[in-house]
Every structure is written in C-alpha cells, then in structure tokens.
Homo-oligomer: 252 residues x 2
Amino acid sequence: MPHSPARSTASGARRAGMRPLQRARPGRPPKNGDVALRERILDVAEEQFAKRGYEGVSTRAVARDAAATPAMIHYYFNSKRKLFDAVFARRADVVNKERMAALDAYEASAGNNITVEGAIAAFLRPVLNKLDTGGAGWRNYLALVAQVGNLHEWGGAVMTQSFDPIIQRLISIIRKALPDTQDEELYWAYHFLSGALMLTLAETDRIDRLSKGKCRSTDIAAIEPRLVQFASAGFRQMCNQQKGTQAKKRKP
Amino acid sequence: MPHSPARSTASGARRAGMRPLQRARPGRPPKNGDVALRERILDVAEEQFAKRGYEGVSTRAVARDAAATPAMIHYYFNSKRKLFDAVFARRADVVNKERMAALDAYEASAGNNITVEGAIAAFLRPVLNKLDTGGAGWRNYLALVAQVGNLHEWGGAVMTQSFDPIIQRLISIIRKALPDTQDEELYWAYHFLSGALMLTLAETDRIDRLSKGKCRSTDIAAIEPRLVQFASAGFRQMCNQQKGTQAKKRKP
DNA sequence: CCGATATTTAATCGGTCGTATAATTAATTA
DNA sequence: TAATTAATTATACGACCGATTAAATATCGG
C-alpha cells in the first residue's frame, strides 16, 4: 500500500451534526462514549415517521440523519417495517406502565369515592406529562401515535396491541363511578375521549390558527384540566341519557 | 404498413375492471358514455390516498386503477400534489355548503331558544349523513380528512383553508347558547369535539375490537346522538367550570 | 372538409427506493 | 495470543418513482 490517506477516525455519532468531511473506514469502530447507534436510529426514525408518515420516510434518510449507512438499519432492524414497530414499542411500554400505576394508585386512594374526573385525570396525566416535559422524543412519539390512530389501514391493529389493556382498565374503574351504565355507552364515550386526546397529541397548529392565538396547541397546562372536565361531563351525560331512555321505555 | 394487427377499440373506462387484453392505440378515443377520465382518476386517487396516505400512493398506481396512463395524470393535474388538492377540494365545497345551510336553518328556526345540542347536531348531521349514506367515495374522502387532520406536517394548513369558516359559524351560534363564556373555552371545547369527530370519520375498527363487537365504527345511527350529547355536555361543563372559577376568584 | 384543439399512448429521463452481501476492522472470549 | 463475534463501510441489484415529451388520433368550430 503506497500510503494511507489522512482518515477521520470519526464514525457514527462522532460525526452526528457535522459535515462528514472524511468517511470512516469499514469495520467495527473503536469504542467511544457515543450514544449507541441503535438508539440514534430509533430517535431519528421516530422523528421522521412522526413528521412525514411511514411511507414518507426512506430508510436511507433515516440512516443519513443518524450518521449511519442503510446497511446498519438492515443490521439492527432487518426491515423498514420492523424499524417502525421498534419505534412504536419502545415508549409504549414506558407510558403504559406509568398509566397502569396511576390508575392503580387512584383506585386505591379513592376507596369507595371513585369519580369519573379522578379516573380520567389519572389516565391522562402520564401521557400529557410526557407531552409537556418529556422532550422532543416523546413529542415525536405521541404525534406518531395520533397519526397512526387515525389511519384507516393498519391503524386499528397497531393501536389495539399497544393500548387495549390500559383502556380496559380505565373503563373498569369508570364503571364503578357510573354503575348501571351499559358497556356500549362507556365504549362510545371512550371513543370520543380518545379522539380528543389524539388530536391533542398531534399538536398540529390548527387550534392556534382557528382561535387566532387565544389557544396554543402546546399549552398542556391549559388543555389538561379542560379535557378532563369535558370528557367527564360527556361520560356522565351518556349515563344520564341512557337512564332517561330506559325510564321512557319502562313507562311509555 | 404490412398489416394492422387486431386492435381493441377499448380505451380508458371501457377497460375498467377488465383485463386489458389489448392496449388502445394512441390518440383521442372515440366518444362514448364513460364517466370522464378526470373523475375516474379523482375517485381512484381519493380511495388510495385514504387507504395508504399521500406518500404511500404512486401516481402510477392511481393511473393503473383508473385504467389510464401516468401521462394522463400529468395532463389533467400536472403534479401529484395538485391531484391531492383536487381530491380534497372536490367534496369539501359540497359538504361545506350543506353545513352552512344547516346552521343557517337551525339558527333561523330556533329563534331565541338556541341550544348547544341543536347547534352541534346541525353542524354534524351533513357530515355524518354523507358518511352513512354517501357511498364509498364519501367514506374515502372523510377518512382522508381524518387522516390529514392529525398529520403533524401540512395537516394544519389544509384543514384550516377548508373548514375554518364553517367552524367559526358554529362557534358564533354556540356563543349565543352559552353567553358569558370566554372564547378560549369555546375553542378548546371545539378542539375536543373535532378530535372525536375525526376519529369517527376515520372508521378504523378500533372501537369494534375494544368493545368486542358491542360497538361498530360504521354504526352512524348509534354514534350521532351520542356524539351530540357527549360534546354538548362538554361545552356546557366548560362554561360552568369557568363560572365557578370566576366566582372563586371574586370571593376567595 | 379543414384547421385548431382535446385527449390519449408510448417511451423515456434521472433519481430514489428497500434490501442484501462481501469485505473490513475492533472487541471479546478461550 | 488465537479464534470468534460484533459492528461498520462499500457496493450493488432490481424495482419503482414523479415528471415530461413526441406522436397519434378524435372532436369540434369554421
């Protein structure tokens, strides 16, 4: 070999955010304090999926922004779809555990005085807290959840797998606060709450424009108490409405 | 020319749904009773955008399913983005006029007895009616609206342009039913209603799975009165909540 | 019936896509 | 230290992408 041209020892995150003036040589890079490449890929994919949708993202673009090569995505995740699933699953586990703990704690502390407000507040707080203070990663993930939730094709399946248990838990608690309410009513009420929550998670600037700045889609402190009140009133109303219908049916 | 091989006179929709055993020759086809190709392209694009998202659709696939060539999409719409805009605008005009008429009619008929229920019912009925009885085209369009509405990137702008006027009209009517309510409260309440509506329009089978068949996402007759009641109770609650806060602030 | 115009097919351009494999280098283990 | 394993680059394959143009054919207005 005549001579080795000057080579950057930089590889992976050492180049992240900088111009890759020199490509790294092939082979396993020397150990360093970087964030593991696998995590960097997940972060970048999360951001891009949230902003451009699954189909709008190319594995090459993810690799580029993660300062990696397309082959690394194949190495860690095998396929684009499995990369997406890994992105989706990573934070779902975290937030689901927090939510389950919050609902358990609420039920234990409320004793026989369970309220719809209390249950919904416990259900929402972990998610809205992540949205508010969890940083860009959590915001991207939650925007992705909102997007997938309204997707006609594989929206249903992905959401069901991730979130059904916590939702059934919520409904089982609300059922105690609103006894004698039919499941059908409770599920429809949850459906409406879910839609309201997902639009909130999406953080489009729709409400900002509509209200000419009076409301800001990122103002979680304003949203949280209002969503709790709005949805709780809705749940109660559907319980009352049902009773009215039943009474009428009983004595027409 | 030695000989003309047997040629199908079929072109465009004459082949729709059949195997294109023979390609049509170039040139303007003879007149026939077909649906105009432009409309066929819009229908197919509407369906594909709804089911696979903007980025998930190729103009080639649209052309194929419309029994056309990619060049025809360029001929009628110039670009994929303008095709999307045409899909979005086509039915928005129709439903917006119906909604505006419904709100006008309600306000005129209610006189001084305007209720939140009445206003929301008038606002929702045209859309839910299209979803229920408008056929596959309307279902596809409304699923697309739901999808775009929760999109982080260009969701805000597209929705604002299409739907702001009708929403401002709705809020101006509700304001009469709930006087002394701050705009901020009304806009947040609408935000929640909007999310609930969009999830309904998406018609994912999420609620079907969650409720183990007790609720069906396509059962508009079940959804419409419940959404009206749920959202109306929410609007009223936010009005009351505000009054409570003001009273507290006045006399702490 | 002729010229202008509308609508269509065929063919193609340059680019990007997801995925796969071989070569290369460092870390780890025996 | 020798063998094995882990992590990376380089390169490439075949398919598909959005967009454009030229040629062909029918309709329509005179």
